[in-house]
């Protein structure tokens, strides 16, 4: 579908006279401001009342066949995959569930300032593929970026609400450590050296998020009692949401269904 964006269309008019340099639309490195979190109380989990949210993401209909990625442009990438590697855009598990869906509490939590965990999240470039393909991190948490490949990569964080950046990473170079200070669900990491490479990261204000795995299930622990809107986001199939109530020390379940 063509993107009908009249503002940008008329913005092209100065370009016709090559005067575009004079106009100053926002460059992609601009960040949106987030509400100051310093005044918020520190988020705490009361183990005596904390509950869990668990569930599955189902896929109905015929599972799409993902294309085999052609890595012939870089033999060092190709050699690392003895069998053809398929794109991970839509991964339907054998039990008809969907992998790589980001699940988070979208609404209903008492506003709080959650301290980032000491544990770093990791994003590896291995076999010219990002691993993991989808993950969630907390605002301010360290993201450690590795290049386990014998080839150069560029790592491009295509954020909208955090400063976007693009940096090179040489083969087995020093790890990069990055933080994201604004909530953002979800944005891609890409590599233009190997244009098939794509990973997704959701930056959350709170620790109540999960990503579905090889059985399509997810589990979020330590959830304060309350009524919440839970959102599931898939990179291609979009977002769905549902409401649930977590009783004190209770276990709430929810299922999301994608597909036809």
């Amino acid at each position: 579908m063509p993107e009908w964006n009249l503002k940008r269309f008329f913005g092209v008019a100065p370009l016709l006279l090559l005067a575009a340099c004079g106009s100053s639309p926002q460059p992609s490195t601009q960040t949106s401001s987030s509400a100051p979190a310093a005044n918020l109380p520190e988020g705490k989990v009361d183990p005596a009342t904390a509950g869990t949210i668990s569930g599955k993401v189902l896929f109905q209909g015929e599972a799409p066949v993902m294309p085999v990625i052609d890595m012939s442009s870089n033999p060092n990438c190709e050699r690392q995959h003895p069998t053809p590697f398929r794109a991970e855009t839509v991964v339907v598990n054998p039990n008809k569930t969907l992998r790589n869906v980001y699940i988070h509490i979208k609404d209903g939590l008492t506003p709080a300032r959650w301290a980032p965990p000491a544990q770093t999240a990791k994003l590896d470039q291995n076999g010219c593929v990002y691993a993991p393909h989808m993950q969630g991190i907390l605002e301010g948490q360290d993201l450690e970026i590795l290049n386990s490949d014998p080839v150069n990569h560029n790592v491009h964080a295509e954020c909208q609400k955090n400063p976007a950046w693009n940096e090179s990473q040489a083969p087995r170079a020093e790890h990069k450590f990055k933080k994201f200070s604004n909530e953002e669900t979800i944005f891609p990491f890409t590599c233009s050296v190997h244009p098939w490479m794509r990973a997704w990261i959701g930056v959350s204000k709170h620790p109540f998020f999960a990503v579905t795995g090889p059985d399509g299930s997810f589990r979020i622990e330590g959830v304060p009692p309350g009524t919440y809107t839970v959102e599931a986001i898939h990179e291609k199939l979009g977002a769905k949401e549902g409401k649930l109530t977590v009783a004190p020390s209770g276990a709430a379940t929810i299922e999301f269904t994608y597909g036809s």
Binding site: M1, P2, E3, W4, N5, R8, F9, G11, V12, L15, L16, L18, A20, C21, S23, P25, P27, S28, T29, M66, P67, I69, D70, S73, N74, N76, C77, A87, T89, V151, N152, N154, H156, A164, W165, N166, E167, S168, A170, C191, S192, V193, H194, P195, W196, R198
Partner: protein, 295 residues
């Protein structure tokens, strides 16, 4: 003015070489965008901190584009100096300076688009200026040729079929259409605007070429230039349809597909040829046809 100038085969051949290299550069730039390789080299003006990084994956396209651009920049400097030292026509010397300024601006825009992470307005300006620069080099090739220096074959503009203004409208519309195409490629606007513009531009060009064929067929230069423009425009419309269809066919592809890349890059290159040939035709028309008022 032509009588004061001397034909210099070396200068003319150099100008033609610059035009050919510029067309190669346009192709290389088209490949960078079509292969999604625009950010494969995050630094500028060096590449991975070096003059010559490993030419793997997208780096091959991005750094290759930079290498050809450097060569074209140097060729343009030589061309400007050559014109400044030997050319008697002041306006042509000024055109050489304008070409150099354009290529410098183009290099800065290329660096900005990398460092600012491909903002649409920089990338679109870069793509549009590339097309204008190519036409400038083609014009310099024309002005330094023996054919140009031999002088025009002046004829009167037909009252029934005036084309002097129409011949100016064609390249203006082509530039607008190229800018819309560039903006669509860099995701500033939808491709619908470029698609809607194509019948208008093609229609004006067809109208101009038909007028020349019908009313000025005795004028060899005009007839040849019109036929060339019509042929290139016809190819361009076909390539545009093919590029769009392959884009739809591969909309879900996880990496640039060769057929889509081929048609898109050809569309970009033939777009440059369309502009250059419409500029050439406008120059030939205004040189060879005396205006109605003077007739």
């Amino acid at each position: 003015m032509a009588a004061n100038s001397v034909y210099r085969p070396g200068l003319n051949r150099w100008s033609i070489l610059l035009s050919v290299c510029t067309l190669m550069l346009v192709v290389a730039g088209g490949l960078v965008t079509s292969r999604d390789a625009g950010l494969s080299v995050p630094d500028w003006p060096l590449s991975y901190g070096k003059l010559m990084p490993p030419m793997e994956g997208g780096i091959f396209y991005e750094h290759g584009h930079r290498m050809i651009a450097t060569m074209v920049g140097m060729f343009t400097i030589v061309s400007m100096v050559w014109l400044a030292r030997t050319e008697k026509r002041k306006w042509l010397r000024m055109l050489g300076v304008a070409a150099l300024l354009a290529v410098i601006t183009q290099g800065i825009l290329g660096g900005m688009t990398v460092l600012l992470l491909l903002p649409w307005w920089v990338s679109t300006s870069h793509a549009t200026l590339a097309q204008l620069f190519f036409s400038t080099t083609v014009a310099i090739s024309m002005f330094t040729s023996a054919w140009w220096l031999a002088g025009p074959t002046v004829t009167k503009e037909s009252v029934a079929a005036p084309i002097r203004r129409l011949s100016l409208l064609a390249p203006i519309l082509v530039v607008c259409q190229l800018a819309l195409g560039a903006a669509a490629r860099h995701k500033a606007i939808g491709s619908i605007y470029h698609i809607c513009g194509s019948p208008i531009v093609a229609g004006v060009i067809l109208w101009l070429c038909l007028r020349i064929s019908l009313h000025y067929s005795q004028h060899l230069e005009l007839r040849r230039a019109a036929l060339t423009l019509a042929g290139i425009t016809f190819s361009q419309v076909f390539l545009g349809i093919a590029a769009y269809m392959t884009r739809i066919a591969y909309a879900d592809a996880v990496q640039p597909m060769p057929l889509m890349v081929t048609f898109t890059v050809l569309h970009v290159a033939v777009g440059a040829l369309t502009l250059a040939s419409s500029v050439a035709l406008a120059i030939i028309v205004r040189r060879n046809l005396s205006p109605l008022e003077a007739a």
